[in-house]
């Protein structure tokens, strides 16, 4: 009975839609599904299932009433905290946050304007020119950039092993695919990385085999590590630095390419996994974000880089060299259309969230200096457009 009633209705609806030529994609889907069901004679068994599945279609056409956020897995732990507090203390729904990686997030973000596209994307690096152009090509001309704070990238090892103290040059020499010939470093000749132990890289370092666990190339953390730690060390070698002016592409490939002979082990995007592996393997070092170091300070210790330890204070005042800014980008066309974007931005940029004593700092985010925070807050309030 129920089934025939429903299918009758669906067919009337489909006939009507076909007549008026206003058949929508979703209607079509309903019709297809109900037609499949029509063919089967097991009314009693499936009539309840049909009724239940139809309830799912109700409201399909209605607009989205929650904020949709995509992007970096590094910003994800911070954005989710803000979203949760926002959802619990405001009258708006809790934003939905997907962890897609910085690049994947910007790709989704730039796909267009409309409820099916995300409103905000998180990024652990700045948006690239090519991405801004891609956005513009899809009708997204107004983007608001918000810097959230900083994240330190730690090079850490097990607590039961001695603490490392390396320079960025050591990191480059230990991990790059090609390094200056150790026999004659000034010759300007590159050879495949011959170093097997840390002691070979630098006589002051322990006589331990080089073994570094880190994120894969798709990760923003890896990009930042290559740019800040490896390129930072690469620049210390005079003739490679000189190369930058002549052949920028070559310079970048020399400085950023990580060796592939098994000394650098790609351990996936899961930082917890790296921490566990470090605990089991005392000879290895791992590369991951500061928040994981902070949460696991009883198991792992951060190495000193250029003599500076990765602590909250030293990353915040800029003396720890391997730290990068985190961002999120807002689609201006969606502000006012999707409820709560302004309020979400206000929550994120409030002192109780991203301030020195805010709850994001408790989760391991390194806050920006007060002046910088003020500047970004006023940009957000005025919804100032991004300029590269």
């Amino acid at each position: 009975m129920e089934l025939s009633y429903f299918s009758h209705r669906m067919f009337t609806l489909s006939a009507y839609s076909l007549l008026t030529k206003s058949i929508s994609k979703t209607n079509l889907l309903v019709i297809i599904i109900s037609m499949f069901k029509e063919r089967i004679e097991m009314k009693k068994l499936i009539s309840t299932a049909v009724a239940l599945s139809l309830t799912g279609f109700v409201g399909m056409a209605s607009a989205r009433d929650y904020i949709s956020v995509v992007g970096s897995s590094t910003v994800y732990p911070f954005a989710t905290v803000v979203a949760e507090r926002f959802g619990k203390t405001s009258k708006f729904k809790t934003p939905k946050i997907e962890s897609t990686g910085s690049g994947g997030g910007l790709k989704l973000f730039c796909a267009g304007v409309g409820v099916e596209h995300p409103d905000i994307t998180n990024a652990s690096r700045r948006i690239k020119k090519s991405e801004v152009e891609r956005c513009a090509g899809n009708g997204i001309n107004d983007i608001v950039e918000v810097k959230v704070g900083y994240d330190g990238i730690a090079l850490a090892n097990s607590k039961s092993a001695p603490q490392f103290s390396v320079t960025r040059k050591d990191i480059f020499l230990a991990l790059a695919k090609e390094v200056p010939d150790p026999k004659d470093p000034e010759s300007g000749k590159l050879v495949a990385n011959p170093y097997q132990t840390w002691k070979e890289v630098n006589g002051d370092l322990p006589d331990m085999a080089i073994e570094v666990l880190g994120p894969p190339p798709t990760s923003g953390t890896r990009d930042a590590f290559a740019e800040l730690a490896m390129e930072g060390g690469c620049k210390k070698i005079g003739w490679i630095k000189a190369m930058k002016k002549k052949d920028k592409k070559m310079y970048k490939s020399v400085c950023h390419t990580v060796r592939e002979d098994g000394k650098y082990i790609e351990a996936g995007e899961n930082d917890n996994l790296i921490v566990q592996k470090l605990e089991a393997n005392k000879g290895a070092l791992g590369v991951f974000g500061y928040s994981f170091l902070d949460q696991n300070s009883d198991k792992v210790q951060g190495s000193l880089v250029d003599g500076v330890a990765p602590t909250f204070e030293l990353i915040a005042d800029g003396s720890y060299p391997v730290s990068r800014p985190l961002y999120f980008y807002v689609k201006k066309a969606h502000v006012g259309k999707i409820p709560g974007i302004n309020e979400y931005l206000a929550e994120f940029t409030s002192d109780k969230a991203w301030g020195d004593e805010g709850y994001l700092a408790d989760k391991g985010l390194i806050p920006m200096p007060t002046d910088e925070r003020k500047a970004f807050k006023s940009d957000v309030e005025g919804l100032k457009n991004l300029k590269l």
Binding site: K37, M42, A49, L52, V58, S68, E84, V115, Q295, D362
Partner: protein, 421 residues
Amino acid sequence: MVRVEKGLARRYRQERNFKRLGLGAILLGLLFVSFLFISIIANGYTAFQQTFVKLDVYYDPEMIAPVGETDPEILSAGNYGGLVKATMRELFPSVTNRRDKKKLYGLISTGASYQLRERVMQDPSVIGQRESIWVPADDDVDMLIKGHIDLNLPESDRRIKDDQLSWIQGLQEDDRVEKRFNKTFFTAGDSREPELSGIKGAASGSFFTLLICLSISFPVGVAAAVYLEEFAPKNRWTDLIEVNINNLAAVPSIVFGLLGLAVFINFFGLPRSVPMVGGLVLALMTLPTIIIASRAALKSVPPSIREAALGVGASPMQTITHHVLPLALPGMLTGTIIGMAQALGETAPLLMIGMVAFIVDIPGGAMDPSAVLPVQIYLWADSPERAFVERTSAAIMVLLAFLISMNLLAVWLRKKFERRW
């Protein structure tokens, strides 16, 4: 004769070894399974308990609203976080320094203020009164009480500092700390605070996804199987279809996710992250399993039944709906349940359609964004907070419980309705 006896000992030995080999394989399998279960249960059973702290809260009218106020807008805007802080200050009046105060407030979960707000919203008459209430402790305190924090480490390496330790001891001496059943775990959605996180959101997401999946894949799968088995002519085309169905059953699930992204989201314009799309994708994935199982069930119905029905004058459709289908149904249902169990544990295709997401609100229907149980496990395993380790294991236990009960249901259905000829 002599030759046979000479070889007999060797043949017996070979047979014993052969048997031992089989037994060894079983034992090895059992060993791995029990290792898995023991490690998960050992890691996870503590998550079913949660540390609570008793606070004597004075519902200060100055912080919430004047006595007698009932307007929910005004009530919800009260400073409940301040209320918790004031209560903590009252408990430890000796703490005056700003830094120390922050550490003191850190002992109580941020969920406490939501709990107080809910209490006041429910019963505004408590404003101006004093009441003892159990609120969740912070996840670090919870880890300490459960013994996951090594107190022998130097203070700087611990999440709980020495003065916090002394405050907790003070609370314990007053009988203000208690481990209770963790109801939140079963009634809340996801959260970034381990003590406030639960699996209800993910479980309802899984429920809606499976419902959609079942209501599409079962009728379509059965219809396809009936046609192929009962009506289709045996020719090259049906052979081709059969080969393709068998191939589809072995296609990696991520491929179905990509298909779902292209068809349902990009072409049909359905929203991302909703059980509707998840169910459709998983239906595509389970269809081959169901078709293959249903065909096997139809094949096992003896031809004599069909011939007898046709012989007494039933039409082919009557033969199938009145006689063949009811006899084949238990086998079909078994196949379907196993297909559903497979769909319940799937994450890869859901990654592509945006169901791997942080979603706090519990979905109320198939069009609300939601995660599913295995996705929740993945997200928790990736979280930095230590307390999520036990919650990850606990969520795995819940998922395993569902899977085991679904498989048991399949076994039971088979046992109860199966007919042998």
